[in-house]
């Protein structure tokens, strides 16, 4: 029999287990977003910090309503006026959509091959796909500079084989950005695809083949539809972070590569226009909020289904 004080202690312990991580995330994840939104409505000034003060609760309710009236939407108006910004958003979305599709096309045969591999091999194959993911993202992107540059290894190889006479210009173009994204994000697609394909009941395919269905048709009518949850999960894991990607377009892309993550970085670090950088971030978040919420709901449901 637990005494009352025991029970109280238990309740307190239970409360702390939830309250500590909860409070941490509210303070260091949620509140920062609210601050970004707030600052995106303020005006830049030269000084430290380089924007007009945003928190002034001394005026009470009247002060708050007054400060809401003072909110300036200039930053957002500017985003629509300057072509650089909307072009960056569109180009980011396009690069993210196209590269998600490319990642899917390249990952599918690999995930399929893994799921059909002998059982004893599968854990090793999964390990081999995960291992590069553990090595630094920056290093993996950097490795491609040496391969793709004008006097780099790829051009050396192709010239030595007499496939080309002139070095190809790949580095600092969008081609390099696509290669970098496919390379870096492939494991994020392969793993959910593999998880979906591995669960596939082989007897379905056997039944189809017994009934005379050719393998390709069985694939499109059975395997592919059943792998759609994996495709969706993998696509979100690639699409959302790629839209805001900074390192790949910065190191592999060129002057013509417009991606919003890089625009935000430049706005912040080079132009030091913090309110405008905040507005760029808020719009990016609005673009991504729908895919993020869908992704969360899916992951939550999956976590609960497995339980």
């Amino acid at each position: 029999m637990a005494s009352d004080s025991d029970r109280r202690e238990r309740g307190l312990g239970r409360w702390l287990v939830l309250a500590i991580p909860y409070a941490w995330l509210v303070v260091l994840f949620l509140v920062p977003f609210l601050i970004v939104i707030k600052i995106s409505f303020s005006t830049p000034v030269i000084g430290q910090p380089p924007y007009t003060p945003t928190f002034d609760l001394s005026g009470g309710i009247a002060g708050i309503t007054a400060s809401i009236r003072q909110l300036v939407v200039d930053n957002y108006v500017f985003l629509t006026k300057d072509a650089l910004y909307w072009k960056s958003y569109l180009s980011s979305l396009w690069i993210a959509i196209a590269s998600t599709f490319l990642v899917l096309v390249f990952s599918y045969p690999i995930a399929y091959g893994m799921a059909r591999a002998p059982r004893a091999w599968q854990p090793t194959l999964v390990m081999l796909i995960i291992l590069p993911f553990w090595t630094s993202f920056l290093i993996r992107v950097y490795a491609w500079i040496g391969i793709l540059k004008k006097d780099g290894l790829l051009n050396d190889l192709l010239m030595a084989l007499h496939i080309i006479n002139q070095p190809l210009i790949i580095l600092n173009t969008n081609w390099a950005v696509y290669i970098g994204i496919i390379y870096s994000y492939m494991p994020f697609m392969i793993l959910p695809l593999y998880a979906a394909l591995e669960r596939l009941d082989n007897t379905l395919l056997e039944a189809a083949s017994d009934l005379g269905s050719p393998p390709l048709r069985s694939f499109w009518q059975i395997t592919f539809p059943l792998s759609i949850p994996g495709i969706i999960a993998g696509s979100f894991l690639v699409f959302i972070p790629v839209t805001g990607e900074f390192v790949i377009p910065d190191l592999l892309g060129g002057h013509t590569t417009l991606m919003i993550g890089k625009t935000l970085w430049d706005e912040f670090f080079s132009n030091r226009d913090w309110p405008l950088a905040s507005a760029v971030a808020v719009v990016l978040l609005i673009l991504l909020v729908v895919p993020i919420v869908i992704f969360q709901n899916q992951e939550q449901r999956r976590a609960e289904r497995e339980g």
């Binding site: 490795a143 894991l237 805001g244 339980g307």
Partner: protein, 272 residues
């Protein structure tokens, strides 16, 4: 299926080649004697020697290592608590906000996370530097830890905990004696994930740092912008070797534990 079909084998081999060739080339060229990064000048370890005298790089490595150790450890504690709350506490109020905050950082673009944390540190007047990077890293790492541990906890046999509770074991002790040893591999995996994520992060650290705290990725990045050098290849090779060793040891230990567990289960099943 006992053997690989030709098509499947080809796609696996091509896929793995694509994933590994850039890393292997980088490692090979770190042993290149030539000063020009892409001209082969014979084998040499001179760039590793040069690293030892590169004070700025060593400082950055030391900062990174401390940030990663502290942030991964705190994130593991917080992440484990979050996972327990998510899996064991049922449907508490504002659960969807909580789980939303756990899942969002997984896909949130780094530039947004970095910018928002920086603006908060500025708004609060916190001096930026080593500790602000640590706080930022704890925040995103704990979400990864929570998810790794959550997926282990949902497959966990709850009756073990219930049996302990029925026998009068207080919850904290039950967690330490029953739950923690069983989920230990997931806790270790979560810690390692947090450690490598911290080791890896360029964008969030660049936003949240202040004067005097330069991490290794920041240092590598600023050098890379000046061009590919054999010295950077050497730093990268050391990092890859460290991570690969860690992952390999974890895999071997995990495999051994798994085998022991299976053997114990077989023994238990064989008992009359």
């Amino acid at each position: 299926m006992k053997v690989f079909s030709r098509f499947n084998l080809a796609s696996i081999i091509l896929g793995l080649a694509f994933l590994y060739i850039p890393i292997v080339l980088l490692i090979i060229y770190s042993f290149n004697d030539s000063k020009l990064a892409t001209v082969w000048g014979g084998w040499s370890v001179r760039w590793y020697g040069a690293l030892i005298n590169d004070g700025a790089m060593l400082d950055a490595a030391w900062v990174t290592l401390r940030v990663a150790l502290i942030s991964a450890s705190v994130a593991t504690v917080l992440g484990t608590m979050a996972a327990v709350a998510l899996v064991r506490f049922g449907r508490f109020r504002s659960r969807s906000l909580f789980s939303g905050m756990i899942y969002a950082p997984l896909v949130m673009p780094d530039v947004i996370t970095g910018l928002s944390l920086l603006l908060m540190f500025v708004a609060l007047g916190v001096a930026r530097g080593f500790w602000t990077i640590v706080l930022a890293h704890i925040t995103f790492s704990m979400c990864y830890v929570a998810i790794v541990i959550q997926s282990r906890l949902v497959t966990f046999d709850k009756s073990l905990e219930e049996a302990a509770a029925d026998l009068g074991c207080p919850p904290f002790k039950t967690f330490m004696v029953i739950t923690l040893p069983i989920i230990a591999p997931a806790v270790v995996a979560g810690w390692m994930l947090g450690f490598t994520l911290s080791l890896d992060d360029l964008v969030i650290a660049s936003f949240t740092t202040g004067p005097g705290a330069t991490t290794l990725p920041m240092r590598i990045y600023s050098q890379v912008r000046l061009g590919v050098t054999p010295e950077i290849n050497a730093v990268c090779t050391i990092l890859i070797a460290l991570v690969a060793t860690g992952v390999f040891i974890a895999a071997v230990v995990g495999r051994r534990r798994e085998l022991e567990r299976q053997r114990a289960e077989q023994l238990a099943a064989a008992m009359p």
